[in-house]
């Protein structure tokens, strides 16, 4: 089959992720990686997954979501709960991690479905504000949720610890204290595999009747309906898929720390991921991967500027947005890209 432009780009994305993984493994194996950067590998992977999954909602489906961290939160709490609860049942750490990621993804997908029912009926900024609202609600719920496990099974309560666990029972989620004493079973390889799976799912989805339907809804809802596409169905498909990936990312993220609290997954986290997506380009998965990785490292790289680093980060953010949307610069980049494409075509025809 002939490779068209998009599939070329997809293979390039896979290749870059694989190469980056291999390089990092070699560097880390040689002991050349600073401990702070080493500690960031898993969070970077989690944020990359967050970015590509949000790009599915914002770039491919075309709906602005300001509550993506909510799904990450669901995945983090439910995935970690599963990991702790199954600690004895599944002794193998990689297997337990896999189960935790799946549990996180499934719960996030369920929440995504429930949230999607009201959210996807709205449009534009109204949809955005409702996703923001759900993000805050999810945060509040986990801040006040008590979940414990004992011989009788799982006990849950809101606001106060009314789990009344039996002797030998264990309180896993402790309201505002979150989950403590987590065994760090997440690792870079798992993160890499998760990124690859998410990329494959998104690329394969985009290049199918489902993906085309989703993009048709984005480009022209009325025309999409007129050719028999069930708009709600495909909006939901994209939204739930995106939520599930965020859930897996949340589980991966949480299992890299010894404690997690609900406030970690707040509005600012949602916004942070949105910044990755916009920086990388809407619908551009490779861009999301690079932007997520680079912008997660950037504050770390600016550490020498100490207290000025977030200020610099903010200025960089504004300047990049101004520069990328400047008509003169845009024209310049477009002509550059045109020249590049022509050159590569020449090369292709020459070979």
């Amino acid at each position: 089959m002939r490779l068209n432009k998009t599939s070329k780009k997809n293979y390039l994305t896979y290749a870059i992720v694989i190469v980056a993984y291999v390089i990092m493994q070699i560097v880390a194996g040689g002991g050349h990686l600073s401990s702070s950067l080493k500690g960031m590998l898993v969070p970077i992977c989690a944020y990359v997954v967050m970015a590509v999954s949000l790009n599915l909602t914002v770039g491919i489906l075309g709906e602005l979501s300001l509550g993506h961290a909510g799904f990450m939160s669901v995945g983090a709490f439910m995935g970690t709960t599963a990991a702790i609860a199954l600690q004895n049942a599944i002794p193998s750490a990689p297997l337990r991690l896999t189960v935790a990621l799946i549990v996180g993804a499934v719960f996030a997908a369920i929440v995504g479905f429930l949230v999607g029912i009201p959210v996807l009926r709205l449009n534009g900024d109204y949809l955005a504000i409702v996703t923001l609202a759900f993000g805050e609600i999810i945060k509040s719920v986990f801040n006040n949720l008590y979940l414990g496990i004992d011989a009788n099974g799982i006990h849950m309560s809101l606001l106060e610890d009314k789990t009344n666990l039996l002797e030998g029972g264990k309180l896993i989620i402790a309201g505002p204290m979150g989950i403590g004493g987590i065994k760090k079973i997440a690792n870079f390889t798992a993160g890499f595999v998760l990124i690859m799976i998410c990329l494959v799912v998104i690329f394969h989805l985009v290049n199918s009747r489902q993906g085309r339907a989703i993009m048709a809804v984005r480009d022209n809802r009325i025309a999409a309906e007129s050719v028999g596409i069930n708009v709600t169905h495909y909006k939901m498909m994209a939204f739930v898929t995106s939520a599930a990936m965020a859930g897996a990312a949340g589980a991966l993220f949480a299992l890299n720390y010894s404690t997690i609290v609900a406030n970690k997954f707040d509005f600012n986290t949602s916004i942070l991921v949105l910044v990755f997506v916009v920086f990388g380009g809407l619908g551009n998965m490779l861009g999301s991967v690079i932007a997520a990785a680079a912008l997660t490292i950037l504050p770390e790289a600016l550490r020498s500027f100490a207290s000025y680093r977030m200020l610099i980060y903010a200025i960089v953010l504004i300047l990049v947005m101004l520069a990328t949307n400047n008509p003169t610069l845009k024209g310049f980049f477009a002509s550059l890209r045109g020249r590049f494409d022509k050159n590569s075509e020449k090369e292709a025809s020459a070979s």
Binding site: V58, L64, P118, R121, L122, N123, D125, Y126, A128, I129, V130, L132, A133, F134, E136, I137, S140, V141, N143, N144, L158, L159, P176, I222, F267, I271, L274, V275, V278, F279, L282, S307, Y308, M310, L311, Y313, A314, I315, L317, I318, M321, L322, T324, N325, N326, P327
Partner: protein, 300 residues
């Protein structure tokens, strides 16, 4: 009687939300952008007033005026530097820029004024027998109302009325409405769109300064992130009432404040935010364009 107490403090908080939401809604109406930096302008206003009154010992009126002037200028500068170059850009690009501005203001405040909480001075108090009195009591002390509460509610009503008159009666106000409807047509009618947008930002930011002062008078802890949550809440209030609508923002703000305080009092303190957002979602499901918003359907 406690219910009345809660209701009054709810209306007071709601009035603050309403003032912020009015600024939000005006900016949204004309620039069609979610100005996430609006909440941080509130914080700047509060700091300016704090510095003027507590540090420099100026009278409260001067402090409030200083806050309004600084924020008005700040709003116009932000618009000119960060938003104006993006007039033709996608709304998402503008949104991200607004977030950048928000980060910038928060972190600049962090550097300038340190993360240590400041205790906002009691601006609205009178001295009786050498003691500061910040409010009055009714029904044998069962109902306590602070001056801030009264002033906040009155200020909100005045602002609401003045804004309504302004947008419906004055030349500039009419230009604003024209710009929010159709910028191209407004320009063809000889309206200076850039100036009009700039004025809108100025008014919105000035209102934010007043809201900041009132907010910190009622809840006197001041930190660089003071503005974020009220900003988001006010944004919610604006959507609640129908974004772009001035009476909508007023009603939305009031309702939100009352719901929040009552939820705190009778249901749960920790879950009050969640309850507020839940009510918003329910309202939007019943009325997808907010309480007073107009639903615009696409022409086929």
């Amino acid at each position: 009687m406690s219910f009345l107490n809660f209701l009054i403090s709810g209306i007071s908080l709601g009035s603050i939300y309403a003032i912020i939401a009015l600024g939000y809604t005006m900016v949204y109406g004309i620039a069609k952008m979610l100005n996430f930096a609006h909440g941080d302008v509130i914080m700047v206003g509060a700091y300016v007033c704090f510095l003027a009154v507590s540090k420099s010992g100026l009278p409260p009126v001067v402090g409030i005026l200083a806050a309004v002037v600084v924020c008005t200028v700040l709003g116009m500068v932000i618009e000119k530097l960060a938003y104006k170059p993006l007039r033709q850009a996608t709304s998402l690009a503008v949104l991200i820029t607004a977030i950048g501005v928000s980060y910038f203001l928060q972190n600049a405040a962090l550097l300038l004024w340190t993360p240590n909480p400041k205790i906002f001075p009691a601006l609205f108090a009178r001295t009786v027998d050498g003691k500061k009195v910040t409010g009055f009591q009714l029904f044998d002390g069962q109902l306590r109302i602070s001056y801030v509460t009264v002033i906040t509610i009155i200020a909100c009503i005045i602002i609401m009325v003045v804004l309504t008159l302004f947008t419906s009666r004055t030349r500039t106000g009419k230009a604003m409405r024209a710009c929010s409807e159709d910028k191209g047509a407004a320009q063809l009618m000889g309206i200076n769109v850039d100036t009009t947008i700039s004025i809108t930002f100025a008014i919105g930011s000035g209102l934010a300064a007043i809201a900041g002062v009132l907010l910190c008078s009622a809840y006197p802890t001041l930190v660089p992130t003071t503005g974020s949550m009220p900003g988001i809440k006010a944004f919610t209030a604006a959507v609640f009432g129908g974004i772009g609508s001035i009476p909508g923002a007023f009603i939305g703000g009031l309702l939100l404040g009352v719901i929040e305080i009552l939820a705190k009092a009778y249901i749960s303190t920790q879950m009050s935010d969640a309850i507020v957002f839940l009510v918003l979602i329910i309202v939007l499901l019943v009325k997808p364009a907010g309480l007073l918003g107009k639903k615009i359907s696409e022409k086929v």
